[in-house]
Amino acid sequence: MTRSNGNSVEVENLVKRFGDFTAVDRISFQTRTGEVFGFLGPNGSGKSTTIRILCGLLRPTSGRAIVAGYDVVQSPELIRRNIGYMSQKFSLYADLTVFENLRFYAGMYGVPAAELRGRIDWALEMAGLRGRESNLTGTLAGGWKQRLALGCAVLHRPPIVFLDEPTSGVDPLSRRLFWELIQRMSGDGVTIFVTTHYMDEAEYCNRLALMNGGKLIALGTPTELKLGSIQGWLLLLECDRLGEAIERLRRFDGVRDVAVFGNALHLVVSDAAAAPAIRAALEADAISVTSLQPIRPSLEDAFVALTTGRGANCPSELPS
């Protein structure tokens, strides 16, 4: 029952079934102390289920998960003392004031009386809510609620923090502020385990795990994923009549994948030298091409490539 090592979260062949449905399918990974570990994947891919197992809210069907050195099945109550958890709902009491919410959660986490004032002050400072202690929480804007929820979740200085889509429904400026807080906490040695939809946020993570259909399909740094997931070259195509262009390109030998990105298309091709031939083929169909050039793959490209399985390449750290 001692803290085994620096790895804050160790997961081995974790499975969770609900009836016939396998929500989490034999996933394994380890996090490192003080890293921001991102959990990416489409809705229903098993991210939230995994987080809920790691927090001791759900029992795994099989497999092993060690959080802060404790087994999630054997000692969930010890885990709860050592983690912070914040869900996308920012679970605060709207009819309590900012201070009352903090005071309540401090009580729940058993923050000692001597540290109480200091911890609440710290959380107020962090959330930028100093001077608003007696405001009703329900009247706060989304960004403040979100930072207050984080403050409430880490009042007891947990070494690991789980954040389940912490930035959904929050304005871009608040999102940036929030990520600055996360980076600062990670700098203090706190391990951050975060799920997100946003690709720009994924870039802030030290490492990313990509979930799809309950399986862990890729694990690595953002750069590793970007480079490893795309086999061949990525071309950016700007043209008119996108629909017809997609049809034509799907039939073109050497184009492995076509995906829409805004007003343009991203093509995965085996050889960048095919570009002139592609342009010629499109123009033969009276599609006017504004631009066709090779680009660096973004995380979104990697994400699309990996989750659709088209043009996917094995990243460096695929689980066995």
Partner: protein, 377 residues
């Protein structure tokens, strides 16, 4: 442990008292219900709207009908001329009773024979009709008795000394004037308490489930036992306060006596509340939205009140239904309420009810706790 419990209690009481609507709904509905029941709920039947149709036109028939006009139970509003008017009056609910006397009424009486009187009643409200029929019977019997005596007196005065009669001396104990209020006001305390505590408890948990704070609480080191105590204790206190407030209102406003021991009542209330809290908690383990919990609470409360003996005597129910009433904690609590208010009896009499409520309460709480654990998983 104590600190955590203290913080939950503080929080629950803020939820209860900070919001204006919540404060309002805590105090006003119980008092309002008490007022409405105190004034409106009565089985007494007075001023029954009546029509009379007298084909006999004799001194006897007039005297007979006169007794109905003189009674406060009946109000003669129509004197009819023919039978065709009856249907319309009853259809339009203008009258509840039509008394019809056939020609030859007086002649039969004078001959010492049975004289029929027809009483047509609106049976839609069967209770009123039943009670009205009882009063009609009383008046008719009285009239017949008096007429017999008069007749005997006139024919053979000597017989008068031998006329055997029974005189009923009604002595209702505990409620000498048979005030309906004395029956209903303590009962209302029980029903109000049941509704208030079940909905408050169910809502308190389901609301947290809805806004996600229940999940947030479950990742703190709080134990399920602490959570359950923290989620029920406030409503036990609210329930006790409700009883005290409504009891004071009932005794001061409606002059319903409180003859027993306050502590016996509070003990009974606590035992009853353990059942109500258990049921509320049980509802919260089944429901995911406040709307669901509201309809489920309603689903429980209505039969619980019907089977409690609050308005309808249990002894008149079919045997199978009577057995079910033993599962209804309100049934036992009403005995405690009426026992302490009206009869002034103590534990020596009420211990079986206390025991039954203890069993039901611990059963409900155990079941709720087990299910509560399960749903958190």
């Amino acid at each position: 442990m104590i600190e955590r419990l203290r913080q939950i209690l503080v929080k629950e009481f803020i939820h209860l008292f900070r919001d204006k609507h919540a404060r309002f709904s805590l105090i006003v509905p119980p008092l309002l219900q008490m007022l409405i029941f105190g004034y409106a709920a009565t089985y007494e039947v007075n001023r029954v709207s009546t029509a009379v149709l007298d084909f006999d036109h004799s001194p006897e028939s007039r005297e007979f009908l006169e007794r109905f006009s003189a009674s406060s139970r009946f109000q003669v509003r129509y004197i009819l001329q023919n039978e065709s008017q009856i249907t319309s009056l009853l259809d339009h609910r203008r009258v509840v009773l039509v008394l019809q006397i056939q020609p030859g009424f007086a002649e039969l009486l004078r001959k010492g024979r049975t004289a029929p009187v027809q009483a047509v009643l609106d049976g839609t409200d069967s209770n009123t009709a039943l009670i009205a029929a009882g009063y009609i019977n009383q008046i008719a019997t009285r009239f017949a008795q008096d007429y017999q005596l008069q007749l005997a007196d006139r024919l053979r005065p000597a017989l008068m000394t031998f006329a055997p009669r029974i005189e009923l001396q009604e002595r209702p104990w505990y409620n000498a004037n048979l005030e309906g209020r004395w029956f209903f006001v303590p009962g209302v305390i029980g029903t109000v308490l049941l509704v208030t505590v079940i909905t408050l408890t169910a809502f308190a948990v389901v609301r947290e489930r809805e806004i996600g704070t229940l999940e947030q609480l479950m990742v703190t080191p709080i134990s399920p036992a602490e959570l359950i105590v923290g989620k029920t204790l406030p409503f036990l206190l609210v329930g006790l306060a409700t009883v005290i407030i409504t009891a004071i209102a009932g005794t001061l406003w409606f002059q319903v006596p409180f003859r027993g021991n306050v502590f016996v009542l509070l003990l009974g209330t606590t035992l009853f509340l353990s059942s109500a809290l258990g049921v509320g908690l049980l509802i919260s383990t089944i429901c995911w939205t406040q709307q669901q919990s509201f309809s489920l609470a309603f689903f429980y409360v209505t039969p619980a009140i019907m089977l409690s003996g609050f308005g309808y005597p249990i002894a008149s129910m079919p045997h199978a239904l009577q057995l079910i009433t033993y599962l209804d904690p309100l049934r036992f609590y009403l005995v405690v309420l009426r026992g302490t208010f009206i009869k002034g009896v103590g534990l020596g009499v009420l211990w079986p009810q206390m025991l039954a409520m203890t069993l039901l309460g611990s059963g409900a709480l155990t079941l709720a706790t087990l299910r509560f654990h399960k749903t958190l998983d």
